[in-house]
């Protein structure tokens, strides 16, 4: 079973045991930091800008929230389904043999399709490395996952920034995995680099 998508990117130890029931940790310390930030900024807004602006902002926030919640639920469902349908090992085996530009392109494609946070992507990178992928392909995979990842675009970028912004950013980011892989090919490789 693939790991729980920690799209929040919050530091949590990367244990090898990534299945099994974990508590959802909805109200841990990071929640209280966000909570405090909301209260302080709301109070500051009321104090500085007055009650009318405070009300207007609060209603605006709640409207935005109502708008994006259904999208976030759908995006989480897609991510979870892709996660259970595509076994990590099969992807690693399919990509491991490919070398050169083809390997980089396939790795970039796989990166964009990998849902979830670092809890999903880094174990896959590790598996790809063990399956024999080159350093450039691994870097292309990670660059693609972080800049072109479909799940982040669906669940965060389009709901919050709009489809036009997302489309322009996506188009501008398409070359990035290849650029990073090309630059990494110019960097020196150690004699026994475990990831080269």
């Amino acid at each position: 079973m693939p790991g729980v998508a920690d799209e929040d990117g919050r530091p949590s130890p990367p244990s090898g045991r990534d299945d099994g029931p974990r508590s959802p940790r909805a109200f841990d310390r990071s929640f209280w930091i966000f909570f405090l930030l909301a209260i302080v900024s709301a109070a500051a807004c009321w104090a500085v800008k007055g009650e009318a602006v405070f009300r207007q902002t609060l209603f605006g926030d709640l409207r935005l929230l109502a708008e994006i919640l259904p999208r976030i639920v759908a995006a989480l469902c897609v991510a979870a389904l892709v996660q259970v349908l595509i076994p990590r090992k099969a992807v690693a085996e399919a990509l491991g043999d490919e070398a050169g530009l083809r390997g980089v392109a396939l790795a970039a494609g796989a990166g964009a399709l990998t849902p979830g946070g670092p809890m999903t992507s880094f174990p896959l990178v590790s598996a790809l490395h063990n399956a024999g992928s080159g350093r450039g392909a691994l870097i292309a995979y990670l660059t693609s996952w972080s800049t072109l990842g479909f799940q982040r675009i669906l669940s965060w970028e389009i709901p919050l920034m709009g489809i036009e912004f997302a489309a322009i950013r996506f188009a501008a980011s398409l070359p990035l995995p290849f650029v990073a892989a090309a630059i990494s090919a110019l960097l020196p490789k150690p004699a026994r680099d475990p990831a080269s």
Partner: protein, 165 residues
Amino acid sequence: MALLWSLVVALGIYAARTPGARHREAARLAARQFVRVLPRLVCALIAAGFLGKLIPGAFVGSLIGPESGARGILIASAIGGFTPGGPIISFPTVVVLSEAGAGLPQMVAFLTAWSVFAFHRVLVYESTLMGWRFAATRLFSSLALPPLAGFTAGLVMSIPEILAR
């Protein structure tokens, strides 16, 4: 959004037909993630809305506004590289900044820098699973990416203008 939900239905039906009825596992995963994200998202969005009203727009505009050009793209790349946390922090930050008058290429540079550098991720996952040498190689290879994405976004934006001529 209709597209997104049809994708959910299609994948759900497919998963339910595969042996082992994996749709239940997926539903459990999604529900767990939702419970985790929701309380923080509500607070982050509310905070972002109020902070956006408090940040002086003229300041943001002169620093990373549409007229700030290459300097703004470089500044936004630097800020993005040092923004900690996951999308629950970065995307509300982008909403705040763009409402305060940041330019689109500058925001693209900010998001790209945050995506590829994410130092908490390097610290917790990359260095432990892949080693520092790999992390350093990847970070060095990625140094130019945020400004590159910012400039390219500016070019993409000007395509309609060029075509109209």
